[in-house]
Amino acid sequence: MEKFTTLSAVAAALPEDNIDTDKIIPARFLKTTQRTGLGKYAFDSMRYRPDGSENPDFILNKAPWRNAEILVTYDNLGCGSSREHAPWALLDFGIRCVIAPSFADIFFNNCFKNGILPIKLPREVCDQLMSDSTMGSNARLTIDLPRQVVIRPDGEEVPFEIDPFRKHMLLEGLDDIGQTLQHETEIKSFEHKVAGERPWMPTITLD
């Protein structure tokens, strides 16, 4: 996973509540067995017209937002399906940071696993960042993860909260599995304890 430290980039505003993962990537594009290559399908129904041509009115089809690396939306971003294809599609498109007043739980988790930083900020602040983003490349937002601030184009710093463990994982680009496997002894002893306490617990074996 790519490390996330600081990011200075164009931000695009999608001023909507409940942008669901079907909207981020519709189910018909989930037939891949790869993690990569999904960027071209991101926001398919908004980005393309029924004939397959680009919708020129959609923000991510306009310069400079075509190169946006930050998305700012309203509440409950990423609701619906657990598909990790949603952050994969965003990442492949080039998005490294998503900012919203609230997120759906699974999407929020999935972002961290892919080096995308999800930031929760109050709706009024999201409104300000959306307003900044209309200035396009003249108004890059800077995300400083070590200091936990979003720096607006006028230099104002907006602090944000992040779980220390997740911050560490993002800063170092670490994979959870390796970390958890360091607790092998504890997992083994837990399994031993359960086998004693709940010996009736069945296993799944097929003939």
């Binding site: 079907d22 018909r28 067995t33 399906s81 699974i106 607790h183 097929l206």
Partner: protein
Amino acid sequence: MAPRTLFDKIWDHHVVETLPDGTSILYIDRHLLHEVTSPQAFEGLRLAGRKLRHPEMTMAVVDHNVPTSDRTKPIEEPESRNQIETLERNVKEFGVPYFPLLSASQGIVHVVGPEQGISLPGMTIVCGDSHTSTHGAMGSLAFGIGTSEVEHVMATQTILQRPAKNMRVTVEGELAPGVSAKDVMLAIIGHIGTAGGTGHVIEFAGSAIRGLDMAGRMTICNMSIEAGARAGLVAPDDTTFDYVRNRPFAPKGEDFENAVTFWRTLATDDGAHFDKEVSLRAEDIAPSLTWGTSPETVLPITGTVPDPAQEPDESKRVQMQRMLDYMGLEAGQKIAGTPVDVVFIGSCTNSRIEDLRAAAQVAAGRKVADGVRAMIVPGSGLVKMQAEEEGLDQIFLDAGFEWREAGCSMCLGMNPDKLTPGQRCASTSNRNFEGRQGPGGRTHLLSPAMAAAAAVTGCLTDSRELV
């Protein structure tokens, strides 16, 4: 010890270790796999040279992509076929128990788990699918995870989690005749909204919930995610134990009795703390459906489509208008009487035998309206067989419904079962997002009885008028 909730107890039973920052390593009892969200995880294991830690606590089935037409023919779509074949190679390589496409036990993973006794009370259950919350009806902690977490569970049999907050939704009283579990859940989501449960695990409680059979409880827990909750659950009771007894992978004999003794200790203690409480009266719930493109846009079938002009918040007003435009509805129109093109009875929400019986009761002796395509997609091969034993297939076929093979089908349109742009569908599934059932498709979520009523009248109809 302080009084604990059902969620607290299951959580406590599964914490391997709590790290200094408050994240816990949580042990997972059951890991369910399907073809869409697992290939990248298997590939990750292979690349890292890791093993799948406990194949005997893992189960795989194909459901999302599979055709629901004749299964003896090869799968036409090459990408779907590839995903299914990839799963088949992976389960073989890693030794995972698997219900293949041509097995009678194949079906939607959230129907198969409980049906086989693989999902049991008190367990932690995960799957790379948000509707894993369904299994919470067993009195387990069951939730959807992303593919990176799927790989994490494969390698470690654990997941990294912080405890959720506790929320209780209580429905007291007796449901009116013709009101089903689906109506109850739509009413709940309409009441608390699609983010009403965010960060919480919802325990569904009260006499109306206790009075539901297991299929009804599964319908309710299934859509917890539509209320934003991490999971939903119902305290296990005699209804649960009677359901579990004699299932193929459930404990047997003395083991079963010992298990029940343990499961009886799981219910929420008197005085346990809930961070959020919501109550509904069962008598207030009518047969319900959605009018918009978010599951919280719920109306009773007797209601009228809301007017955006009445919404004070501007961005919400714009969104409401957009929903009306997308759905092809007018503010103030009566929702009943709106013509439909397609009826879909199926999905992990409503494809169990009880759901098919409810639909058949309405369909019996009637005909699907002219110009309407009506499909029945049973949740599993076993549900299909049971329905055929009861003669339900004949009721549906005589009425002009399609009687199909088990799978996710038109709930998400990954297989050929899709809406075309502008088609309006009365659907027993769980999501009405734009394009969910096919690009441009218009979805109304409702119960199996209401779906069958729409099929035979050709429009959204109060099913109580037909039974």
